[in-house]
Symmetry: C2
Subunit: 478 residues, 2 copies
């Protein structure tokens, strides 16, 4: 039987051929004589204690082989196309604590690689491959500013190492998802969509935000086998909906949800390393006010416009502006803004209400790599600088589409005191929106040959949300 | 109103006076002219990405001030008893992403400290205190072998720094819990006990182990406000119950629970930094077999003996032996072992069946500090070497009592081929236990003036467990 990884019956079987295909795609871009070497992640302790975070594998390493254990290396010999996995040689004694230790042969079967050796033999084995160049990974993550951790081992000095070729090549391959990867993304987005739907049934005034987070986590894990989420859950209600990265340790989703609050819940599961990243915004009491509806439908109009227009060849920066235009037009029609939408865009009004980009590449990282590779359009200046990519869309890209509209005092005050922006706002109406938080609608989509496949399945229109929430009495999590 | 931290209504309010008292206790052990300086934890990124683990504060820092934010320092001036908190000076722009930035005055109120400054002013402020010595923390964690991270800042060279005085002093203080700390431990143990009870109602053959883990996590968080557990949940069923640290990323609680399996679930919530660490073992189908009952009751006898005998003045090593004796006697009575129990102990039979120590100190770390401080009995050699402390019990200590009995092929095979051990086993009966996993019973207790207060409230006898599980049809998690 072909090797696969899953979390048991009723969860997705991720075939190891997914990773073999990634290796094949990579080998095709490289030259005989080159040997790729990636080092996987290591366990991380809580400070100086013997307690460790649940290990999560590094994303490039996952992409290349799907190996779940810490302390490994993978070498891909371009000439022979053979994958050599190196695993730690654990003391026999570990068996008592960690369970039956796998033999090299068992690792070989589990991960469907060509050869498995112990890490202690890495220099010897790599020498036997006689590489002209060892290709290691080094390059910037343009979202964090951090650098990928280059592989290193005792004896690497004896090899000719090139750390420039690999990064742009593998990052670019990660941008375009294979059909096998798309299957995993469909799964994790479906599980996460269902979890959001459960949360919408559960949520109500009087609960604390984190209770909704807990329902999400439980559904993802218990039903979908997702042990991890892809990022810290953002569960903002009321004013907290306007804090873009709410939910961190100093603001841990601990507010009581109140009647009249909008809930902006940005949460995504993670399966086999692949991320979902979905935001739902809904009224805690199940019924939108007219004002909430106005803002919600402005954001939904932006989402709809992008879903309609996104396709291969289109610039993501243009999609951002398309979203801004739709939203601003809708808010203007609703009496919140005055003047020409083009003038608003020109004067940065879009970024007052939506200070973040339209969306980002998604895959093994929630903010996936490849946004600003050397051959791609550089990061724009001005209001578009926040975009995590300015690329032209291609079939096989996976992205989030996540327009939003927030009432953030700091930004509104700034606009109000800036005549070139202030003139567009109906300030007396805006005043009544202050403190209400905001709206974000975030879908995970795949760019297809002629448009968009939406991987997200949650109630989106006002009518759909109100209808779904009206069945909340039927909620049961087990 | 007195400052406190909680996760909202119905969760425990942890008073900031708890930490003030810790500071006072510490100051009383030190001398005028000394200024304690601890550095709190920093955010940890997932590799080179912009995604971070949910921040969890370092335990010594928590003990001293309870501050939840990353990037802080705390100075305690022994002479004035004043606590100076240093917080990062974040750019205004962060407000959009992180929420309203707290002023120094707000931090002061929230954490009830005497003064709050920005980290950038640390050298200046510390100079103004004119310390003879700056006391920083450096010392070994005897469970991990790692060293506490010493505070460091630009300009520290201009101070006289002593990194030897603080560690044994503060670690010793952490060993003895104050009434305020005991309240928090009571709470987190109660929440974790209730979560275990939910899991016992939910568990049944046909589920995957991690589905039970998810129910535990959900109860701790949604009902008890515990966002974190204190360690990776160990949810071993059947043979996996004999893997002491099962549940890690390469063995992620993903087995299907089968009819006839014992479930050994070792899971503990975390509240305000304080840990619970509780193990329940029960039959997946709700009914013990005679063999399972024999092993279970042998372990329960060990637990009961320790609960009966533990009190101030008693050596923990003696408690370990007390537990071993009770268990071995019970197994002998059940026909699994032959010969004299004292001879068994002498020949290391206890460590074949229970390769771990009886239990450990618990508090802000699940394996809490202070087990082998310089003034304490050193780590024993031989079968007792696994013990995380060899101390004499004192009132105010919190510990786990966690005897276990496992059928681990590797250890049984070793005993079978060792004549000095083999003679004690009834190998034909032992053969029928191989593959069945094992039993652990783990309570969190407080040493009182005259004995033990058990902080754990779960069904423990065979009758209690079978009775509790028979009501499983009533399980609903919401």
């Amino acid at each position: 039987m072909a090797a696969f990884w899953s979390m048991g019956p009723l969860t997705l079987e991720v075939p190891m051929s997914l990773f073999a295909k990634n290796r094949q795609r990579l080998a095709e871009k490289l030259q005989d004589g080159q040997v790729v070497l990636l080092q996987g992640g290591e366990d991380i302790s809580h400070y100086d204690t013997d307690i460790q975070y649940v290990f999560r594998q590094e994303a490039y390493f996952t992409w290349l082989c799907g190996v779940k254990e810490p302390g490994c290396y993978l070498a891909l010999d371009v000439k022979t196309k053979k994958a050599h996995l190196f695993v730690p040689h654990l003391p026999d004694e570990y068996e008592v604590w960690m369970g039956k230790l796998l033999t090299c042969d068992q690792f070989k079967k589990i991960y469907a690689v060509d050869e498995v050796h112990y890490v202690e033999d890495i220099a010897k084995v790599l020498k036997s491959l006689n590489p002209e160049k060892l290709l290691t990974l080094s390059g910037p993550n343009t979202d964090s500013g951090l650098t990928a951790k280059e592989a290193v081992f005792e004896g690497i000095d004896e090899f000719t190492v090139d750390n420039e070729i690999l990064f742009p090549t593998i990052a670019e391959l990660r941008v375009i998802k294979t059909p096998e990867e798309i299957e995993v993304m469909r799964y994790v987005c479906k599980v996460s969509s269902d979890a959001h739907k459960q949360v919408m049934l559960y949520a109500k005034p009087g609960l604390k935000e984190y209770q909704c987070e807990s329902v999400f986590l439980d559904h993802c894990y218990r039903v979908g086998g997702c042990r991890h989420v892809s990022y810290t859950c953002i569960c903002g209600s009321g004013q907290n909906a306007a804090t873009l990265h709410y939910g961190h340790a100093a603001a841990p989703n601990s507010k009581m949800i109140e009647d009249g609050d909008l809930c902006l819940f940005d949460m995504g599961g993670n399966y086999a390393g692949y991320a979902a990243d979905i935001t739902c915004t809904f009224p805690a009491n199940g019924k939108f006010t007219e004002d909430q509806k106005l803002v919600y439908e402005a954001v939904l109009a932006a989402r709809d416009a992008v879903v309609r227009e996104a396709k291969p060849g289109v610039l993501w920066t243009d999609m951002h502006l398309t979203a801004n235009r739709s939203m601003l037009q809708h808010l203007k029609d609703g009496g919140l803004l005055f003047g020409s939408v083009e003038d608003m865009i020109e004067n940065g009004v879009g970024a007052i209400l939506q200070p973040h980009g339209l969306g980002h590449l998604i895959g093994l990282d929630v903010h996936d790599v490849g946004g600003y590779l050397p051959h791609c359009p550089p990061r724009p200046s001005g209001p578009l600088a926040r975009l995590r990519t300015a690329r032209r869309l291609q079939a096989g890209m996976a992205l989030t589409i996540e327009p939003g509209c927030y009432f953030i005092d700091k930004l509104l005050d700034r606009a109000q005191s800036n005549p070139s922006q202030a003139r567009f706002f109906n300030w007396s109406r805006v005043a009544s929106f202050r403190g209400c938080g905001g709206v974000r609608i975030e879908d995970d989509v795949l760019i297809t040959e002629d448009g968009v496949e939406n991987l997200t399945f949650v109630p989106r229109t006002v009518a759909e949300i109100e209808e779904h929430m009206s069945t909340g009495a039927n909620f049961k999590s087990i």
